[in-house]
Symmetry: C2
Subunit: 665 residues, 2 copies
Amino acid sequence: MTTTATTLKGQPLDRQTLDAMLRRRLFFTPAFEIYGGVAGLFDYGPPGCALQANIVETWRKHFILEEDMLEIDTTVLTPHEVLKTSGHVDKFADWMCKDPKNGDILRADHFVEDVLEARLKGDKEARGQKVEEEDDPKKKKKRKTKAEAVKLEDAVVQEYEEILAKIDNYNGEELGELIKKYDLRNPNTGLQPSPPVAFNLMFQTAIGPSSNLPGYLRPETAQGQFLNFAKLLDFNMQQMPFASASIGKSYRNEISPRAGLLRVREFLMAEIEHFVDPEGGKKHVRFPEVNTVELTLLDRHTQLAGKTDVKKMTIGDAVSNKVVDNETLGYFLARIHLFLQKIGVDMNKVRFRQHMENEMAHYAADCWDAELLTSSGWIECVGCADRSAYDLSVHAKKTGAPLVVRERLDEPLIFEEWQVEIDKKKFGPQFKKDGKTVEAALEGTTQEQREKLAKQLTDNGELELEVVGVGSGTVKVSKDLVKIEFRKRVENTREFTPNVIEPSFGIGRILYSLIEHVYWNRATEDGAGDEARGVLSFPPTVAPTKVLIVPLSANKQFQPFVSKISQKLRKYGISARVDSSSATIGKRYSRNDELGTPLGITIDFQTVQDSTITLRDRDSTKQVRADEDTIIAAIQSLVTGAKEWKDVAAELPTFESQEVDVTVR
Amino acid sequence: MTTTATTLKGQPLDRQTLDAMLRRRLFFTPAFEIYGGVAGLFDYGPPGCALQANIVETWRKHFILEEDMLEIDTTVLTPHEVLKTSGHVDKFADWMCKDPKNGDILRADHFVEDVLEARLKGDKEARGQKVEEEDDPKKKKKRKTKAEAVKLEDAVVQEYEEILAKIDNYNGEELGELIKKYDLRNPNTGLQPSPPVAFNLMFQTAIGPSSNLPGYLRPETAQGQFLNFAKLLDFNMQQMPFASASIGKSYRNEISPRAGLLRVREFLMAEIEHFVDPEGGKKHVRFPEVNTVELTLLDRHTQLAGKTDVKKMTIGDAVSNKVVDNETLGYFLARIHLFLQKIGVDMNKVRFRQHMENEMAHYAADCWDAELLTSSGWIECVGCADRSAYDLSVHAKKTGAPLVVRERLDEPLIFEEWQVEIDKKKFGPQFKKDGKTVEAALEGTTQEQREKLAKQLTDNGELELEVVGVGSGTVKVSKDLVKIEFRKRVENTREFTPNVIEPSFGIGRILYSLIEHVYWNRATEDGAGDEARGVLSFPPTVAPTKVLIVPLSANKQFQPFVSKISQKLRKYGISARVDSSSATIGKRYSRNDELGTPLGITIDFQTVQDSTITLRDRDSTKQVRADEDTIIAAIQSLVTGAKEWKDVAAELPTFESQEVDVTVR
């Protein structure tokens, strides 16, 4: 298990060089930069936008198409009442502290983490130990507090480490206590900040011209799916289980966004809501297909013990050992693992971390995050929660809409029981304003009480019942107003509120982590000096552009070949770009290594003679040569994932390159 | 040219039956319906969501891939300052009136339109003329005002008609005058509403924890593209012309949204910004490819004359006759036409309408809307504007960012001219607070003046210049402070701000209009009674689901075939759905006719014997029969658009259907 961020080839990852490259190639860029930018908002340039589209497309195939999920597209604007019911208005908040002097606004958990980490670093320095900026696997951001070389007592070091291991487990009050107990001070002013207060993370707005309908930008796509549950069940012809899915933007007004794409205020999510019968152990019919998939797990107990040791385990074992709560949750954890693998994530840098009690919503049965290791530490990229029946229940209760499944029972259920039958026409006039109260008291009786009351009716022609707040507290009801009889009741249908298993993907975080995982430097690898020659080894299926077409020079003879090949690739829906600039072939290929373009076609003088072209593999820089149609067929098989380069290299004749000049820029 | 809404087969379009069908099949649904809904917000259910994705995918191929456009994804959240500069804060508004009694909020132009239309209808009734609800091609919404049979004078009828033809041309003051002049009253109260005031259509929010950064949800994707112009030009290696494109949500806080998907508050847009050199007549290199495409045009002059007569014209003629301003604008109008054709829009229900002066932004050079005829009248679905250099200029001016193109000139430009050279070090101390004013006056002199001033310097050792507001109004400057000489200036580069041609697509409006265009009723067509048997004849390329798989019955023998065929289709990325419900084959097909599924596979007892399956065509209900691989190959060719049903029907043996029962529901 890797614990520090490295490139694909195991080189130390130089974040600055990578950032400069991503900027230069316009993968993404701060939004509104010419206006000074806005923290937490980023635009995707052409390669980032294409990468995002390809990740989403792979996701759609892997999840939606594979399992016939019902994809829907719901609105971002959401009225207040919906998010009040879901609990977001009251609870979707982070803990925020304020500096009493300069008004600095600090996110409380990040602040505690930051100061304690700085003290631990200072301690190491004081002890003369080697300090690596990247050796803390929990670190999620750039450190703001400067470390001072002050030695701590061994017991204190241990306390700090245990706090950091479960930093996500503290509520606002507890964070406030930590700040006091350890006298944590804002490095900018040297003062203790104010006690943490909750800051709601939703962006608010007003809908309509009279501004009387308050609303929010949704913080997740899930609620829109829950509200449509009854319609979706209908659409699915009442069949259970089924899943809905949504891909769309969500919004969180982060207190202090940083770490680039990893903590932003506007982001693309892909969420699945899988609706399942809560009875019968939440089995999944396709679980046997993933049974042997091995996952890296960091469970709740390990974290609460202040540790971060992971275990490797098949999902089959994890479910049968009750490490993971149920089959359906386990099925999706395995499917998430397979998805990450498919898009090119380094599986040595993936772990599934279980939520601790305080981290989970109170209704959740279990929750695991897929975390990816990056230069900013372990990043939650996918959440997979069992949300139980919470959301459907609260919305049903609030609106009266029947968000339930009615299932015809194979064998009807038969109940024998004492039943109360009230003659409401006579009841009202008799009891007047107390009618409802007395009725409720009668309906609320237990089977035992009813048996006794029935006897009273038979024996005395009336019953006596205690009803608090009515008259003297005891009410008499005569037998012409009520019947109590032992009867049979037959139920042909069963009604239940489904539970929800929710895999939820942060596409931007996955995208950024993937970039770090596939990045490496060819120059370092070659041992050819410190020249920056970045490569992004995306799998061809997700690479932004699939093919670079380069004519050897500006010679006009090459132009018809460039056009013809471009058109053919376009016809097959394969994205290609032509570079007919005057730079050397090597430079043009290097530029596209940085863009992660996996394949290159060169058109040279031999092409003009015999119509053959060469095909270059980005990762090995090896080339093959064949006629146009053969090369295009090879490209098709590579970009659909049907073949790998080694297959193509084995089938087609190798070409020794004219690529002499490989200087960059 | 069609002027009333009909089905694909020319039947009168029954909007209520269609709406019920779209609701039943969950194409779209009011958002938050269980909470009572929010006007102008809709969710797309599975078929609507898939249809939307397929339209977007076709768009991406037709525009982005075809022309190597630079697709980017920018944020929806936009800070105040950006939209202040672009003019949206001050001018992106509709005119709103308020009823003095009940507070009804009315959109002024819709209100005027509504009342005048009702009066015209009442006039027709009074004259005993036939009144058709749908005969007004400009009608955009459901009428609120009830028509009363009151005859109008002929001159008044003409006035009303002329006002309606140019209703989009009035500003708030003019709308207010119309309300007074014709005494237009709110039907709910019988009162004249208040004079129109501007209501800004942007949703406002606050960014960050201290709420000190006001922002909006973008009303268009365009601004994000303009702000990235310099980076995109770099990415494109400084080559002009080029286009960027964005697909994403935009928001408009409509005063009174109605007409379903046609006027909503949150919507998906696809926008192109094509950057072009303003000099040289805005030629387009690929214009000859579309030269002969014939468009239906409704120009500005016709509308201002109070008419709605269209002209058919090739785009080549339209540009050379100056009906359309330039080649690049014309190129995109033709490309829009071809796109609409490709997705299955009825081209007899499309017209391109030119904006009138008041409708256009003041900076726009020309603007045309592609309007589609629906049961709500002619609907603007695509706008295509020449935005000139406006946006880039205002953002550059505000931020100082160089949003320009620098072009190396093949032949340098040489200017010979009188130049003023000021010695700034001496100038300040001499003139003190007046320094800047005198300097500006010197810099502002003409060539003729400079020649004279130069002579003064040579002759007198000083010059005399009129500078209003400095001293007596005449200033003397000695030759040690300034030089004026006849010199040569060489310019090697040309700098210019590109103009922007912007095709802008409202995907939701296109989607809804398309549904109306491809809808028809099989029962009416067969003459088989008034049974509702709706069909949506989407082209296979955009249809939500491509294939329905139906086993003849629940017999277990069919199951392996169902699984195998599903898997194969999935492998090829062809979306299919299985219906193994107990309904008759006919019912199951009818259900999928309503979903617009173009193809159906039946698995029957013959399949079990010889592995052949049948393939059904939705539109003709004809079937062919062949082995599995042949049928799947046929499906592939149909869904990619390579073949049409008639080709497949000619190649494969016809199958006479077991489809006996065709009763619906």
